[in-house]
């Protein structure tokens, strides 16, 4: 194994090595950015509400479809991104308010019901949009292949990185500079304590769930011109988000950012060096972190 690895690394350093590393770094970064949008919501929801929201990947995919419909009606891509996020936020709030809230304290019931919603929403996709794969066009202004020297990269991925960075900055401001944000942070640390301090916990839950779902929907629409719309994508992308949440620590913004980038890069270089163990290279760091630091890199202690 080590020999193969060494040989591969050597190969890569020869020839167009510099280019290769740059391209792969950029790819890993951009994919990490997309995963961040999906994983951040999952992480927040878990951190605050202690709900393992298996439906999250499906929110992402339904968001993409809704974004496509909005794009078809209005022709405005940016409207589609916002609209997809908002509709999914409403769906999330609905599910939180009428189902998950009734099951507070029943961890198992909550996770089971979120899986029920995975199946329900999947069938809804089949019913409303059909099983045909679909593609979403991105605006011409962000659709070109940029060249810097001999290094080429798709500009759309750059756009995704920019959006993810803006979202991360926004979340940081929200958590650190607003009163409600500090309530959310308090709830991540300890719900009971926060409640004792006068935080309106049900409201925090609704907002967090809505925000998390919004991010999933928004990320979903953003993924449209990149990954395409394909029934079944939800469960293919969900494991990535879970790895991020576990590695980064549940509820931690900093953790989610770092872990997303890590996952993007490990996924990229893992596929290059050990194509046969593509998922294993992704899950192994996760298992190691679970073993030595079950709360993740930046999670609060269990």
């Amino acid at each position: 194994m080590a020999v193969i690895f060494a040989r591969r690394v050597l190969c890569l350093f020869r020839g167009t090595a510099m280019n290769y590393w740059l391209t792969q770094l950029f790819n890993g970064f951009s994919y990490g950015a997309l995963i961040f949008l999906l994983a951040m919501g999952l992480s927040l929801i878990f951190g605050v509400m202690q709900v393992i929201n298996v439906t999250h990947g499906t929110y992402f995919l339904v968001g993409t479809y809704i974004g496509l419909s909005i794009l078809t009606w209005t022709g405005n891509f940016y409207l589609a991104i916002l609209g997809g996020g908002l509709v999914i936020a409403l769906v999330g709030i609905f599910i939180e308010r009428f189902f998950l809230r009734r099951l507070r304290g029943n961890d198992l019931g909550q996770v089971l019901i979120t899986f029920g919603f995975v199946l329900l929403l999947q069938d809804a996709i089949l019913l409303i949009w059909g099983p045909d794969p679909k593609l979403m066009g991105e605006p011409k202004s962000i659709s070109f292949t940029a060249h810097i020297g001999s290094f080429t990269f798709p500009s759309y991925r750059l756009f995704v990185i920019v959006v993810a960075a803006a979202v991360a900055a926004g979340l940081w401001l929200f958590e650190n500079k607003t009163k409600f944000g500090s309530a959310v942070r308090a709830a991540v640390d300890d719900v009971e304590m926060a409640s004792g301090m006068g935080v309106n916990v049900p409201l925090v839950f609704t907002v967090v769930f809505g925000l998390g779902s919004f991010l999933a929907g928004l990320g979903g629409v953003l993924s449209g011109p990149w990954l395409g719309l394909q029934y079944g994508l939800d469960l293919e992308i969900l494991p990535y988000a879970f790895v991020v949440v576990i590695v980064g620590g549940m509820g931690s913004l900093k953790g989610a950012i770092l872990a997303s980038l890590l996952v993007g890069l490990v996924d990229n270089f893992g596929k290059g060096f050990f194509p046969d163990l593509a998922y294993f290279t992704l899950f192994l760091p996760m298992a190691v972190i679970l073993a030595v630091r079950p709360q993740g890199l930046f999670g609060r202690t269990l």
Binding site: N27, Y31, P133, T145, W226, Q230, K271
Partner: protein
């Protein structure tokens, strides 16, 4: 609480009753002919199931539901795009519905998995997909199939060497399972026998989301690519390939599934000019049989074009009817039915052209080399560049010689030129 209890009790009772009463399947000896259809109506391959069910309707329009004087009943089953469930469903079709023949199976892997059931239950299985070895080294008495995955790709390699001799070094990219290995292996074998070189082979899991890591590895010193895309890959890869700015870098040829009609409309300009080889000429192919099929098909699927997934399902049913006619409807004699299936020859009514059994459980077929073009209306279609007629799964090799080599696999043929 009480209502829930009542509900659950009713549910439980219904299920226990179901246990006792459900499909006994003790149909009368000479009832209708029952044909089991295995497809995927849900899961990642759901789109193909939709196309195949529409193909069945188109088939009924043309050939009716009576053959050799007996009524025919179809039993469609959904394997949810999961190989193990396919096996369960075939077992259910044979033992529960008592079908006389099972046709279908979307993955090449499903073909390999369900084939042993044919011999186990002494019931013919018409494997619709293309697992090479089922008609080569791992033949089953009760299994025939529609084509071999490598069959059209032998021709693809031949065409590429003949028409674009400047393309000497080629990268192979495909899905990481039997379908990818066999398609790519067939291409590599003929391509290298004709003086070409495969310099890199990369296989990606079928559900890969981001192709960036693979695309980034493509060797810059190659002139061409042989690409095989299965299911969802056909949508994601072209877009990301185009976004990486490789459109004009390589001459891209590949498997007919890359630009199959099910995806063509969604793929858009990203696949314009892609050259592919397949056993179907595409919905636009002007033969009379094909145009009639396309017209019938469109009626059943919202005016959408059929691709090979639909054509293959349709064609297999034509062959099955033909075999039933040959034995005058005596499908209860499974051995005789099987023998007839192994000797079919259909020259008319097939959207993909004539099919002739080769005596190994496979069919000799036309192979179409097509490229993707755009109509004035903006709609994409396949233009046929060349037709190889009556192509055998052994290409021009002698079967005995061919069968001595291993089945095409991830590491076979070995990659001699990958430095």
């Amino acid at each position: 609480m009480k209502r829930a209890l009542v509900g659950l009790t009713v549910l439980a009772t219904a299920l226990v009753l179901g246990l006792v009463l459900a499909p006994r399947g003790d149909a009368a000896e000479k009832g209708p002919i029952r044909i089991g259809l295995l497809t995927s109506k849900t899961g990642v391959l759901a789109i193909h199931g939709t196309h195949q069910m529409a193909a069945v309707e188109a088939f009924k329009d043309k050939y009716g539901t009576t053959v050799a004087g007996r009524k025919v009943e179809f039993y469609p089953e959904d394997d949810q795009s999961k190989v193990p469930l396919g096996v369960t469903k075939v077992r259910k079709l044979i033992t529960g519905d008592k079908v006389h023949i099972v046709m279908g199976g979307l993955f090449a892997s499903t073909g390999y998995a369900i084939a042993p059931l044919g011999d186990q239950y002494q019931t013919p299985i018409f494997v619709w997909s293309c697992p090479d070895d089922l008609s080569q080294r791992k033949r089953y008495k009760f299994v025939v199939k529609y084509f071999s995955c490598s069959q059209p790709q032998h021709a693809m390699a031949h065409w590429l060497r003949k028409n674009k001799p400047q393309v000497k070094k080629v990268i192979i990219f495909g899905p990481d399972y039997a379908f990818g290995y066999e398609s790519s292996g067939g291409f590599q074998k003929v391509f290298e026998d004709m003086g070409g070189q495969v310099v890199q082979k990369i296989y990606a899991p079928i559900n890969t989301v981001d192709y960036g890591p693979y695309i980034g590895q493509f060797r810059k010193d190659a002139e061409g690519m042989f690409v095989t895309l299965a299911g969802p890959q056909a949508l994601r890869f072209p877009k990301q390939y185009q976004q990486a700015g490789l459109r004009d870098k390589y001459v891209l040829v590949g498997n007919g599934t890359n630009t199959d009609e099910f995806a063509l409309a969604a793929q858009g300009e990203d696949v314009l000019g892609w050259i592919t080889a397949h056993i179907y000429g595409g919905a636009a192919y002007p033969s009379q049989d094909n145009q009639e099929f396309v017209r019938n098909f469109k009626k059943h699927l919202g005016n959408k074009d059929p691709g090979y997934y639909a054509e293959g399902y349709y064609g297999a049913l034509v062959l099955i009817y033909k075999a039933i006619e040959a034995i005058k409807g005596d499908v209860e004699n499974k051995a005789k039915f099987m023998e007839a299936l192994g000797r079919t020859k259909v020259t008319e009514g097939m959207p993909g052209g004539p099919k002739v059994s080769d005596g190994y459980g496979n069919l000799n077929t036309n192979v179409y080399i097509r490229d993707v073009r755009k109509e004035a209306s903006g709609k994409l279609y396949h233009h046929v560049l060349h037709v190889y007629e009556n192509v055998s799964q052994f290409w021009s090799y002698r079967p005995e010689e061919f069968l001595k080599q291993a089945v095409y696999d991830k590491d076979f043929p070995p990659c001699k030129f990958c430095k």
